[in-house]
Point group: C2
């Protein structure tokens, strides 16, 4: 069984650079450990060499020309076309000589989560390995305690929608001071009670309770694709889940 890591996050969160940096980090400490799969038909440049690339089957640019679509329509259409090649991709992925398969998901997260593509990809890839999602947010979106709750909630939504374990991470850690990010549950709750009065604060507290009870999204590593910071912590967390084989389904 392979260990499959899906890098998932909103447009601009840095999925591609984190995929590359984590792959490079794995290679630096093991022999032939990681293979790369690119699932983004709209990406222009990749900082890693993909072993499997969705663009061999379909690109957004071609779809725009061929069907006379604008960018929105072409993104949706290309993901629908990509669905047809999932069996082929799975077959090729199963044969990759690497225990770790790093999957760089489409630039627009919602095309993976809220179309057929993501759930079907996961369903098929469960045959090849154990899958964990890494849900990435940009620290520039992490200004308030409420934003951390949003990241955790997005992780929960991803976990339920795809039926996989997830780890939320804050990327581009090099761009912020560690202390600015409220990763500690106690500090987070304190800040939340200061910041959000009334219903929003109460709901946020209950979401944190729910996640803590199931030990979901409790630890949020701060990573940087640029400096390599936090990649070891991310690896340890992935390794822990892969070893426990704690599958949510």
């Amino acid at each position: 069984m392979k260990s499959v890591v899906l890098f998932i996050g909103p447009a601009g969160s840095g999925k591609t650079s984190l995929t590359a940096a984590f792959g490079k980090w794995l290679w630096s400490r093991m022999v032939t450990p990681a293979a790369y799969v690119n699932l983004d038909p709209g990406v222009e440049y990749l900082p890693y060499r993909p072993d499997i690339d969705i663009r061999q089957y379909v690109t957004v640019e071609e779809v725009m020309k061929k069907y006379g679509l604008g960018p929105n329509g072409a993104l949706i259409k290309s993901i629908e076309i990509a669905c047809k090649y999932l069996d082929d991709i799975l077959e090729r992925a199963s044969k990759l000589p690497a225990p770790y398969v790093l999957v760089d998901t489409p630039g627009q997260m919602e095309l993976f989560l809220f179309r057929e593509f993501g759930p079907r990809f996961v369903e098929k890839f469960k045959k090849a390995g154990h899958i964990i999602g890494v849900v990435i947010l940009d620290p520039t979106l992490m200004r308030k305690a409420q934003d951390i709750v949003s990241l955790k909630l997005l992780s929960l939504l991803t976990s339920l929608r795809l039926g996989v374990d997830v780890i939320p991470v804050i990327n581009k850690a090099d761009a912020v001071e560690e202390g600015e990010i409220l990763r500690d549950d106690e500090r987070l709750r304190l800040e939340l009670s200061r910041e959000s009065e009334g219903v929003i604060g109460e709901i946020s507290e209950r979401i944190l309770d729910l996640l803590n009870d199931y030990r979901l999204a409790t630890r949020v590593p701060l990573v940087s694709a640029t400096t390599g910071k936090g990649l070891e912590e991310l690896y340890d967390m992935l390794h822990e889940i892969f070893c426990a084989c704690g599958d949510l389904t």
Copy 2:
């Protein structure tokens, strides 16, 4: 104070056609009731005539050409550029001679939710009116009880992220049998317990409890932009919240 309705949903959920249909429905029963604001710089065709159109300021196509970007990069860049025009848009929107302002948000929901654009838009527009978000999902994504939980969770995330009340709706109701959609809480829970064993089922139940306690996303209207089904129910729900002035913040 104006009543501002944001139509929000993942790519392909039918935001634009629902905006148009709801506007048409409002016009058919009142005099000068609704104005349209298009916030999608990537849309090719609109089935309504926008009173304010973000494409007067920026289009994804221009950004692709001018900056030599692919579709992913150009979508992000155009939303960043659009941010600069928010004050101008707000000023123009305040002067629109209509009590209802219908806002068609960007094709890719995450550009609105997880960049600066959406939160800043809402912050500014709170000066002009009371804002409610309508969170739209496609019924083809509603195959399992778990999918309804995802829609409700997405609504909660939208509500927390933007600080507005939200109503989740299932669009394209003409494409499905009403009975297929589990809108009734009791039936939903029964089906959930059949479908999801273990942790996922438990977490889903607790999410439903949380939402019910705060009367959030409890009713999910089934609407159709094509047949006009459910638009009156949606109007009544919006009206109820606007009148109560129940602001979450």
